[in-house]
């Protein structure tokens, strides 16, 4: 027979035996020699890396937490400029004399005010004790009800007095309040 049936055909062939199908790209790395050893080294390297990271984290955690700065106690540098110092005439001796006398008067005034307040509180407590004593004489049951703690009393909230009473029908100007306080985390 002739080899006439053999025709030069274009046969699709793979690039290498690592390419499983013709259309797919190389899926695995073309590793030639000793594939198993590489895996072990990889795992070891990765483990070593993880341990190093963990040690670093532990070191950071062990270090004492940074103290949050109190903004009120730190004077900004721009205010220690000498050009800002106020220039005023020095105080006369009469002025210092007047101030000292006023301070002493104030001291006495406050002392009297405090004494009066304490006295008022004492009479308040005495009056209540007397009332409770009389109540006990009347009926034990009412007395027990009276000395029971009032749960609804605290927390007690009240708005304090202002300088002028609220203006009826006052329309406050509109505006937005933006909070720029710095929040620190340790």
């Amino acid at each position: 027979f002739f080899l006439s049936s053999w025709l030069p055909q274009v046969v699709p062939c793979r690039g290498s035996h690592w390419q499983s199908s013709l259309l797919a790209l190389r899926a695995s790395l073309p590793v030639r020699a000793q594939p198993k050893k590489k895996k072990k080294v990889d795992v070891k390297r990765e483990q070593a890396q993880k341990e190093r990271m963990k040690k670093k984290i532990k070191k950071l955690e062990k270090a004492a937490p940074e103290l949050i700065p109190i903004e009120d106690f730190v004077t900004p540098i721009k205010y220690s400029d000498s050009s800002r110092v106020r220039s005023l005439p020095p105080l006369s001796s009469e002025e210092t004399e007047r101030r000292v006398l006023l301070m002493k008067k104030w001291c006495l005034f406050k002392q009297n005010q405090d004494k009066a307040e304490k006295q008022a509180i004492q009479t308040l407590v005495a009056a209540q004790q007397e009332a409770l004593k009389e109540l006990r004489l009347e009926s034990e049951e009412l007395y027990q009800a009276a000395i029971r703690r009032d749960e609804g009393l605290f927390p007690f909230e009240r708005e304090g007095p202002s300088y002028t009473p609220p203006l009826p029908g006052y329309d406050p100007p509109e505006g937005k309040c933006v909070d720029i306080t710095k929040v620190y985390t340790q």
């Binding site: 009332a131 409770l132 009032d150």
Partner: protein, 244 residues
Amino acid sequence: CTAAPRPWRLFGAVCLLRLPRITQPLEKEEEEMAALMEQIELEKSHYSDHELRKMQEEEQLRRRKESAYDDEDEAPGKTVIMAQDLEDKWEQKFLQFESAPRITDADKNNNRTSLNRKLDSNLMLLVKQKIGNQELWLLPQMEWQPGETLRSTAERAMTTFLGDHIQAKVLGNAPYGIYKYKFPRAIRTEDNVGAKVFFFKAFLQSNDLSQAELNGDYLWVTKDELGDYLKSEYLKKVNRFLLD
């Protein structure tokens, strides 16, 4: 345990206080001290940004006036807002604002039934009640009935005289004071010697009582004015538990 029936009748009364809405005026020493404190604070302080700006602008103005009006570095037509202008503007705005007066109309008319009076002190409720055969001005009181606590008697007194919609906070379960009196000999018996009135304090929470149904005569008075209406013995006991 059952005790023998006591010869004293029990009453629960409530002292309803309208707390002050404005600050009290300062005493002379307080004013002097406040002025001194302000002066010392000013002396110890440094210049603020606004003050520095004002001083610089005043310097510039003065220099420009002294030099022969040659200001080529200032482009004509450019308006500069000076710190002084800002201060004037703020002052104008402040003067234009009218706040509510501290002394109200009710103060001027001495209308003692109004709550808008004497906004810087405590006001107490007084009602006219019939005791025996006399009509007296008292703190609202009701007779205690068995089965309720004295505090609920006081609350009942409050709702009787001011209606159900009253918003008041009673301060605790214990009474603040007591007024004990014996009935006049004519009606005194073995079982009915006299009465004990227990006072409770309450703070008025809402500011307007338009919803309240006030029955009978009532007054809102300060501690100093109590003497005009209450009897001396009663007043003595009431004054003990009232702070100024």
